[in-house]
Symmetry: D3
Subunit: 280 residues, 6 copies
């Protein structure tokens, strides 16, 4: 069960309205790696978590924090939209200076939400459940979390330069600092899990169960001409768990058959044999 | 530019048709972490890659390999569907034994693709471009790749137990072995990049640029009651880069304001003030 | 079966082209509460209607009218786009005045529809079937209809101020007048249905069937700190049907268990127990 | 800012696993009117709320409660899936009795979530942001809330009969009781707002602003043959606000023009005039 | 403006309920090539049509007919669902014979539409506006129409064998006959347009405008090993308009550059140069 | 299996950056008829192809070529975005001249892809699998291919006029020339298939199988008032296969019943009969 406190987790202030920036910030609210994604992802991982309570509690701690981040971004967007009005939009076509301000506004910020945050990305595409991941395998999911925080921090860092508003920048700096720590957190959890079970997901399907596939397993297939890729740690040396050696296969030949699918029954109407005419 | 060879990369054989399994395998063809995803993700990352040619070549090598994996799965699904027919479907309602075989079939495998693979997941939801990630930041993207291969291998491992067909299982074992190597590959690339730039994405927005946020940056906010999460490496100790100490904040108080958004212009029709009646 | 007459239901005229306005009007054509939505919603409710012919006939009357509204909006958008040209778009980058006119144009109005209306909202997101509701329960569906007309009229009212074109404004005033009447219509139908069956949907699952849940049923759980919500008609007094008293629960305690899900079979590869290693 | 308590709001118990029911319950978790929808809808309405604190507090109270309902449904689905295994799926094709149990299972409950709840509906379509409504106009949004609770309770009532599991039924009865109260709540809020501003949304665009459209505004256009619809309160009598009389228009004639759009510039390539051949 | 008549265009009868077939028929109601698609496609093409009234009238004739086809399919689905009940679903898990009937039912036919047709395909994916095409170029759009009727008739032909219900089969035979005529219609229109403007879309960008690209224009690039494709009319001979000869290029070499994109500004945080550390 | 060569198929050069054009070009990369669509469509048709090897080889030749076209467009977009920077975006609000350049930029080109191509259309809607068609019926699918190339060439022709950049225009001219040839190719294949099996899809469900529906099959129903459509080759004359005569039906009467669906079981809660109150 959840509870809500009126105050925002951190203070959110803007120096002046900026509807264009409001549109751009939608990316980190309702985009693929926005706060809605990490909020829903950590909550679903926490709700579905089985096994060690330590991980479940951590997921619920951070997932609950992220609900508050959605709240903060809605507040930020509302403040950036304050003062935007339908009438200004009507002026825009006539005055290039107003158009410069209003031209890039998300029309739904006026029409649909009436100056509030939207559950969409910076192009107005609705957030959807396929952005999130909760597989039950802790290591797989923690890697998703580390990845999501990496993309999220990258986007906030890019946004940072798209405004000169010192109020907004202060909020962004706080988010950047927090996202750095979140990256550390998932890294720590990953390190612990990898130490326990090994680095491959899932650990419970181990190398020896794939034994007859082993010879080919560690071949790097050079399928894009040029050998620059041979000069990387992925192409030579021993696998982390010592189960094999990487091999760089420079001109690899296919090892499978030429597929030769059957002609299907007439009732599927591929029309491959003009003689088989169907009687009803 | 690309070229195609007729043979499949690896041999794909099934012992007997199984339309239900064909439906389930769609998840690893056209689902969130299916082969279409890794194919398109590595190709877009490769097409958009800037900087060191070594990474671009590697992305193009593996991305090109993955196009062939989509081809292999289409062949696998076609073989599992061979022999499925509309008429059997018509029989299903009357004979429980046939219903057991046909009941779970994806109707689109008959109606839409005529026994071929579909660009959808196991529930028929079309693959979409928001499944993939290509941000330009190499470390962020390699983490996505490691994550995708982790989820993908997990799903194949689960599929493995959903069939007793030794032909299909042999193909799955090959995929499991290959996906293990792919996890190693991205790990090696990640290790190299982390050594160069540090572990946080993006590196070019460093801790000192967020300095005034530092005190709070490393606090673990215990927002889900219970302290089990305190017992993890994310809650105590020093950050990997030595820039600070983690702090477990047990009963954290919010630090922001209570938001108090303005009443918007009448032309937005929030109807908050009944006295402001609009004159056209 | 349907028939079509060439004339539009009402006259649609514009004073001058305005591609930016054309983009914004897409919201009330193909958005969540646009004319496509009410058209498809009333038609599906009518097609699926069971029981009293009076309601079915009404739904078909209004649904058929709405097809004509989609037609009117396509005509409006075409007129607003007349004169927009690819060449003007090419000029935009060089001349701020042209950019002010062309900058906000929906590129698909040129590229995809060639100056016609699109089945999308103001951000180009395609209309989809999940916007509509037809549950078979008349009261539930009429409430959806009242709601859709409320959001629809609100959006047209907001659009009204985004243009100074008196031709467009005249069309909008007609739509606003019509949408007011449509709100009345659904209100009248709702009142009749509520009088017959009671105000709760569905009526056929009555309070006495939930008897043992009764004590908690009418508690207002104050889960957001602050008591302002206690000062509303939802927090005190008797329920409309006299079945109980509302209770304001100020510091509510959870009444359920701490969930404790089982560790799943190894074949699901959660990797929760490192000792269970799978043998193929 | 939010906080989480470990206990569920209400107890959730099942008598026995039932993967088919787990799939069906996804509709009220991640479907158009599931708990994710009301949770996100009330939170966004609360975050964006401007004006009277009383409404904002109420929205936050109920929105916060609904996060806990998502949590409860995930727990319910996990319990119904406990014991489902990939191996049982492999048996299903051979044994009609097992097939009867396993045939309708959502394959993603095994493959993707590993026996946890998914952010999708009963057919596996991901939840998306276009399910929710937060327009800023309180009356419009409260009508959406009443409607959502009506559809939601209807679906739970239907689900109730799809199982004989008394544990699940007890949970459903609690949800039905609670959803009844939630319908009352929104009704009370609606009544208060209608009394203040009038029944039409938005009130700030009043009848007199549409004056010249008045004559036609209250005509019921009989566009579906048959006059059964004349026999309803929507077709005769006075509008609730006394601004006009309803008129039943039995054989209505269109009042607009036959649209006659311009032939567009050659650069749009409609190919309407074969003489205009383009020179590059 | 549109009008509605109560009678269906053709009679729709079923011999007995069949919920599984009802689910499958959703494909030709709300799928990619279902009746909703042709209805909306022809209406949008008609609404947006510019130029010769003959085509616009034809599009409106057929588009209006198709609204009635959606109506007929909703009636067909309702009849196939009559008698399906939630209680039967609850029995299914226990009795393989009932499971055979109920196992494949679309849960939304019970939960969401209460035994009515849904605006979704056979897997429950909502119909969306991106299924339709209305480009303004008549020849391009007529080709889309011919194609849609080809896929649509193919799917109905496949469905025909999935039932033994003679009532349903009679309806399908009528649809098959009608879809044949519709294919003829679009073919006739295409022939007329091709005769007028030539066979290439768009005609207004003619061969001579691409002159310098001509040498390569008609080369067939053999990029999939094997020469079977050389044995087709697309690989040898003269183009239909006599503007050139086809050439089969057996081992084609790429003619472009190796792309070499710039390293982007630091503010995009690609992290390609560890020395450029950003100062805020 | 596939291989990759470093060089692009054709040279791609731009004269100067143009972020607005980059956004527009996304339509022909990731839109409904962009290169991603033809690439995936031809590959899936080829992977699933059964029967004559000649067609499969052709599909694989062209499908493989199209992967390279996605690569070319990514390179084109990257070049057009080079030099765009977050800082310029921040300047835009203040300087109309910069705003004219930056105003229409896709924010995801900065935030999400860091100056690379995106798998989305010109409005940022992600590409999805429902854009493509692979039914197994060769004639149906070749008609889809002809149609896709028609829409694709039309969009490139429109784009051509939206820029004055001679580098970009040279690339477009090459695409236009190539798309013309591709239209010829599918036409040739279609002609061959029509000659073999007849013009109607599917041929295996022939006219005589629909015999009793024949009288009505060839009637043109004039459902949109006005007779302009009578003046077309679709309304008079003999069908291409000589099986019947077209008939223009000027005032067609419906031939079906008035639908009269049953009142459903109480457990579906339509609430149509207030007397049936449910006992749990």
């Amino acid at each position: 069960m959840f509870r809500h406190q009126k105050e925002l987790q951190f203070e959110v202030k803007v120096e002046r309205p900026d509807p264009l920036l409001a549109r751009q910030i939608q990316e980190v609210l309702g985009g693929q790696f926005g706060e809605m994604t990490v909020m829903m992802q950590y909550l679903f991982q926490g709700f579905n978590c089985r096994g060690d309570e330590k991980y479940k509690d951590m997921l619920m701690d951070i997932g609950t924090e992220e609900i508050g981040h959605v709240e903060m971004l809605c507040s930020l967007i509302s403040q950036l939209l304050d003062g935007a009005s339908p009438e200004a939009q009507a002026e825009a076509a006539e005055d290039p200076a107003i158009a410069a301000v209003m031209g890039g506004i998300n029309p739904q910020h006026l029409l649909v939400s009436g100056l509030g945050g939207l559950p969409t990305n910076s192009n107005g595409v609705p957030w959807n459940g396929a952005y999130i991941v909760a597989s039950g395998n802790l290591l797989a999911d923690m890697r998703s979390n580390l990845h999501a925080e990496s993309q999220g921090r990258l986007q906030v860092a890019r946004l940072y330069h798209m405004t000169k508003d010192e109020g907004v920048r202060a909020t962004f700096r706080k988010m950047l600092a927090r996202d750095r720590y979140h990256q550390y957190q998932w890294m720590e959890a990953i390190a612990e899990l990898e130490e326990k079970n090994g680095v491959v997901v899932p650990a419970s399907f181990p190398p020896e169960a794939e034994q007859e596939s082993q010879p080919q397993a560690y071949e790097f297939w050079d399928l894009s001409e040029g050998n620059e890729s041979a000069d990387g740690p992925w192409a030579k040396g021993t696998s982390p768990d010592g189960t094999g050696e990487y091999v760089y296969l420079q001109n690899p030949a296919p090892q499978g058959q030429v597929p030769n699918p059957e002609v299907p029954p007439t009732a599927l109407h591929h029309d491959l044999d003009e003689k088989k005419i169907l009687n009803k």
